[in-house]
Amino acid sequence: MKTRLISLAASLLFGIAGCGGGSGGSSQPPPPPVPITKAEAYQFLNQSTFGATEAEAQRVINMRYEAWIDDQLQQAASLQLPHVQSVPPPQFMFQLQPDRVDIWFRNVLHSDDQLRQRVAFALSEIMVVSQLGVLGDQPYALASYYDVLARNAFGNYRELIEEVTLHPAMGVYLSMLGNEKPDPVRNIRPDENYARELMQLFSIGLVELNQDGSVRLDAQEQPIPTYDQAIIEGFAHVYTGWTYAGAPVFQGAFPTPTRQVIPMQLWPQFHDTGEKTLLNGVTLPAGQTGDQDLADALDNIFNHPNVGPFIAIRLIQRLVTSNPSPDYVSRVAGVFNDNGAGVRGDLGAVVKAILLDAEAQPALRMELDGKVKEPLLRLTQLWRNYDAQSVSGRYPYDFAYIIFGQGPLQSPSVFNFFSPFYAPPGEIRDSGLVAPELEIATEFLNTYITNYMFCQTFFWNQESSPDCGPITDDTVLIDTTEEIAVAGDADALIDMVAGKLVAGQISTTLRTEISGMLALIPAEQANLRAAEAIYLLVTSPEYAYQQ
């Protein structure tokens, strides 16, 4: 595989060299573009969807990248809240979480707005709220919050952070909801939780950055903090006075289904009207309304020069590669700063810039390109390729975070499933690189996923068997009918499986090992042979790698 790509790159280089010296003036039409290969389409789709499939790869090959992205940018958001609201209310609200997770899977597996869903998922790992904790019994709030991310995935970042800030899910999760102005008599001062995390995790980070994402240093070669405690307190005072819309009391109102999904409402008597110190030397004057304070504060954050590189790095890491070059970050941050039409914060333009960048599609692969696939994406890619369904039609995998170490809005804390800075010991850390997803690739979770994949491939298929526990109407089964039809021919079987899952880019070692196992399984055990081939592929290091 490596050799093939290198020789391809070499021929491209030769081609370019042969054209050198031309200085325009030619009236000849431009040559037709080099056709996109299936492997290239897979690489692109694993960056932009919940798993490349042969059908979607063909669309990319036909449409080419930019037209495919432009089409995706126009796709309306597949939402979660209408589905969750359509389910008859159970006795306890937490019992709706499986339905919330169900509609997440339905959307990411089957919806046409694949790119939007992928970006929404990335945003859900940046602007984190979670089912685990205080929102466990607020499934409507979580579904509605995810819809905010999906609807704004290609919108403007300024609007996104406003909707995030005022969403009751975030209000509850980071305790802005019910945050009151100071009361010196009771030694009460505003809650600093949201003030801190909006800046640290959702927008600018802790230290000043250059446009290329590198850390700015002061005269003493030290990083420059973006804010101090006085600024935290300034923003904490901004975020006072907000609670559930239509609540009868400022604090302690019950989160009814309606209150969970409507933006928070200002109670002026609980809003602090004093002066407030913000970023970059800005001070809000005393006497402003809560709405004015909030608008000014979000503008203040939005216009901080860190936002471009900060969001660029995080989205690139979620979609394309763990270790983008400074130039790549700078190009994407530049688009954040100005989409070409003078607009700052255009996320659709940012996503397009990330995916169309030469570094997202390098001709000559480097060993640090790409990333470890998120565990949930390993599952969804398998499911998308093998038409995974349950008898009930549901995917109630609310236990996803237990097996896979992650699930939709199931982070253990606001710090996401893994840190963008995580560097495992060994060559990755020694090289000064990061591999965020490896933080949850523990011995324990890797084993859990390996075991899950065994059950999924050998027993949870169209010939379902209870060997991995009882089969219910909710058990998600993959369909390996096509594999079974060719299973007697080991090479044909491997070609089919590898063709679907990795565009045929299977290593010699893996092919040899699968062949060796198939040689031990009689031809009439077609189901077993199909399962074996898929199992060894989806548990392999090469499948866990997103090029």
């Binding site: 490596k2 205080v134 980071l174 305790s175 019910g178 945050n179 009151e180 009771r186 030694n187 009460i188 001062r189 809650d191 600093e192 939780n193 801190r196 802790l206 030290q222 990083p223 903090p225 405690q229 604090q251 763990s322 060993e367 640090l368 790409g370 990333k371 470890v372 253990p412 804390s413 710090f415 840190s419 560097a423 495992p424 010991p425 060994g426 060559e427 990755i428 090289s431 591999a435 490896l438 933080e439 690739a441 523990t442 011995e443 324990f444 890797n446 084993t447 859990y448 065994f454 070692t509 893996l510 196992m517 031990l520 060894l536 392999s540 290091p541 090469e542 866990a544 790698y545 997103q546």
Partner: protein
């Protein structure tokens, strides 16, 4: 208020071999010791865990904490040996009856107002920025990182348990498990340059369910062999190699460690009932692994267990009793199990947490602060005492940098160094474990025998 400082001074004066010297010989230890870190994620509000009980100090506390204060009549009084007998100068949160018993029986102590520092820091120095400070004070992940790594302003990504494991790696060559084991996922504490921590679940590792290392197991054996060869293949990408390395460690350790846990269960050596829940379950598994230490040929072990929910910005009065009761009951059960196993002198349990919390309230909760109180438990702990300096809990007082954020009066480096020395790290190598320890007069806080 410092206990056993004379003993500490004597120990500090004892010359020790450096590990550079010891690694040459690779001499095995002649005993077994284990450290158990209980990390309380979110920032434990430990000034409601250990509360002043004398009139003036309690009144200062109550004035600062207002609606979050524990009523003085509800406190569980304790009698540290460094104080006048019967004076009951401190009390514990009413949910911590088991910890009170551990303390009063001499098996537990507290280290007061500890936190990350680079050098001793006064309020004036803090505001004039005339001393070096740990970066990003009051931020969760940064202050967790400081407690776990002690890196200060260095760029190091190793933790202090990781560095200890690296230092002793040639002395524990026969161990069947890594020195560092986590029951709560990947963590900075155990991250190292030379050794790798082993991560298991709360009840231990999972077995690869459909592979066997038994040559008689037919297809499952063959499959295991094929799986192993796939893991061990040469890969072009650092990400593939990183992923494969985890799989290799998982395969190598699962059967051994699961067998050890099963042996402990079969022996019936542990009858202590652990509290239900994450922390109790993890500590029960640790107890089983300690019970099987000989089978695993372990000489030194460092366990990382943890529980969350301590970030009490909201509803603190509702949630704190359950959180603190869980710590108290889980640690007490674990200590009881070590007594059953007759290893209580060889096992030391201690807490760490992101930070203490503001003494002031945000209405119904507290925010991120700095210094806090930590628990140390075990037969080798010089128990029933409070080490370090307990601050006056006064808003605007000498230790408050605003809103009731206490400047630590004992550094996390001193805390770690004291534990590291007991673990067997020679005094001359303590600065590898605790890089800033030389900045503090007292290298050994004296809470370990």
């Amino acid at each position: 208020m410092t206990g056993a400082s004379a003993a500490a001074a004597t120990m500090a004066a004892t010359p020790g071999l450096t590990y550079a010297q010891m690694i040459g010989g690779g001499a095995p230890f002649d005993d077994y010791r284990a450290l158990v870190c209980v990390f309380l994620f979110g920032g434990n509000d430990s000034y409601n865990m250990l509360v002043p009980n004398t009139i003036a100090e309690y009144n200062a506390y109550a004035a600062s904490r207002q609606n979050l204060a524990i009523a003085q009549t509800d406190l569980l009084p304790i009698n540290p040996v460094s104080f006048a007998p019967g004076s009951e100068p401190f009390g514990l949160h009413p949910a911590m009856t088991s910890l009170q018993q551990l303390f009063e029986s001499g098996s537990a102590s507290f280290v007061a107002n500890a936190g990350p520092l680079i050098e001793p820091t006064t309020k004036d120095q803090f505001f004039s920025q005339s001393v070096a400070l740990p970066p990003q004070l009051f931020s969760h992940n940064d202050q967790q990182d400081q407690w776990l790594s002690l890196r200060g302003t260095n760029q190091s990504k190793t933790g202090w348990a990781g560095r200890m494991a690296d230092l002793i790696r040639n002395n524990v060559a026969g161990q069947q498990m890594a020195t560092n084991a986590s029951l709560f996922g990947t963590n900075t504490f155990q991250s190292a340059d030379e050794t790798v921590a082993y991560v298991m679940g709360a009840t231990g590792p999972l077995q690869f369910g459909f592979m066997s290392s038994d040559p008689g197991a037919g297809l499952l054996y063959t499959q295991g062999q094929a799986f192993g060869r796939i893991i061990d293949a040469q890969y072009a990408s650092i990400y593939e190699r990183g992923f494969a390395a985890v799989q290799r460690r998982a395969i190598d350790s699962a059967e051994t460690v699961i067998a050890a846990i099963q042996a402990a269960e079969n022996s019936g050596a542990i009858t202590t009932v652990f509290p239900a829940g994450q922390l109790g379950t993890q500590l029960e598994t640790v107890a089983k692994l300690i019970a099987s230490r000989d089978q695993l040929q372990m000489q030194r072990q460092i366990f990382f267990v943890a529980t969350g929910g301590f970030d009490s910005h909201d509803d603190q009065n509702q949630n704190q009793p359950g959180l603190l009761a869980n710590i108290s009951e889980s640690i007490a059960a674990f200590h009881a199990a070590t007594v059953e196993l007759d290893v209580e002198d060889a096992v030391t349990t201690f807490t760490q947490s992101d930070f203490g919390r503001t003494l002031t309230s945000n209405g119904d909760g507290t925010d991120h602060a700095w210094g806090g109180n930590q628990i140390v438990v075990g037969g080798s702990v010089v128990g029933q005492d409070i080490y370090g300096t307990f601050p006056v809990l006064e808003i605007g007082g000498d230790d408050d940098v605003g809103g009731g954020r206490m400047i630590p009066t004992t550094s996390a480096d001193q805390f770690a160094g004291t534990l590291a020395k007991w673990f067997g790290i020679p005094d001359v190598d303590l600065d590898i474990v605790a890089p800033h320890i030389d900045n503090f007069a007292q290298r050994d806080l004296g809470f370990m025998v």
